[in-house]
């Protein structure tokens, strides 16, 4: 069961919903939004693991192209290509992406208003930055060096990994719904990644989502 909250957020009509986890769950959620609520745009938020050594915990990724790193229907089609759609990635809407980048940069300008110093120290957040980059999604929790190496080798433009984004991007592509996504980096997706994840989600990622969406919707 999914709970869809309809109403106003920062003076804009929105429908807010938890994706649930994994590609199928998130795609189903997106389909409901399109079919049952007739949304004219979808924005996706959440956390992700960095697979780029220059992308740190606390950085914000604004997605450009989204790949399914576990898609492999070879030899029918080449690895990562989505059957029948003849493409390996789905792009976010250029205009929404630009607006999202602006919203993220504005958020960082007022970072202290959202993330207290105590929390920054707790999670060793240095100088968070906004990164425009590609996202790799898959139904796997990426945590080993070999998994990261696989993604770095085969999808070198991917800067972070998560489990839903590319699925929602595909649904939006098929229905011609403008799609954008930002993700807060919660870990480095490697063997050494140990953070208090529930605390990070509640104290850091939640405030990122709130601050960035406020800027995005207030335009």
């Amino acid at each position: 069961m999914r709970t869809y909250h309809q109403g106003q957020l920062f003076d804009k009509e929105v429908v807010l919903v938890f994706s649930r986890w994994g590609k199928v769950a998130a795609a189903t959620t997106a389909s409901h939004l399109i079919h049952d609520f007739k949304v004219n745009e979808i924005i996706f938020t959440g956390v992700a693991g960095s697979v780029d050594e220059n992308v740190e915990i606390g950085d914000i990724i604004v997605g450009q192209n989204l790949y399914q790193h576990d898609m492999d229907a070879s030899p029918l089609v080449k690895r990562f290509e989505v059957p029948l759609l003849h493409r390996s990635s789905f792009s976010t809407d250029p205009d929404k992406r630009e607006r999202l980048l602006t919203a993220c940069n504005e958020f960082l300008m007022h970072y202290d208003d959202y993330i207290p110093q105590k929390e920054r120290e707790r999670f060793s957040l240095q100088k968070p930055k906004v990164v425009l980059g590609d996202i790799a999604s898959g139904d796997q929790f990426i945590s080993t060096k070999s998994q990261i190496q696989f993604i770095n080798t085969h999808l070198p433009s991917a800067v972070c990994v998560e489990m839903e984004g590319a699925a929602v991007a595909q649904v939006c592509f098929e229905y011609k719904i403008p799609f954008s996504i930002f993700r807060t980096i919660s870990d480095k997706a490697n063997d050494n990644a140990h953070i208090d994840f529930p605390a990070f989600a509640k104290r850091i990622a939640s405030n990122y989502a709130l601050g960035i969406l406020r800027n995005y919707l207030n335009v």
Partner: protein, 39 residues
């Protein structure tokens, strides 16, 4: 027409709901999450 906002984190949903004026809530589907899960 509304903007669809999806979050992969229940904690984000909770934080956003504090700032949202909810007019209607819809529950879709029949498979329930384990008891105690509210999203």
């Amino acid at each position: 027409m509304a903007i669809g906002i999806i979050s992969a984190m229940p904690e984000e949903i909770e934080a956003l709901l504090h700032s949202m004026a909810v007019t209607k809530t819809f529950r879709i589907g029949y498979a329930y999450l384990p008891s105690g899960t509210t999203f």
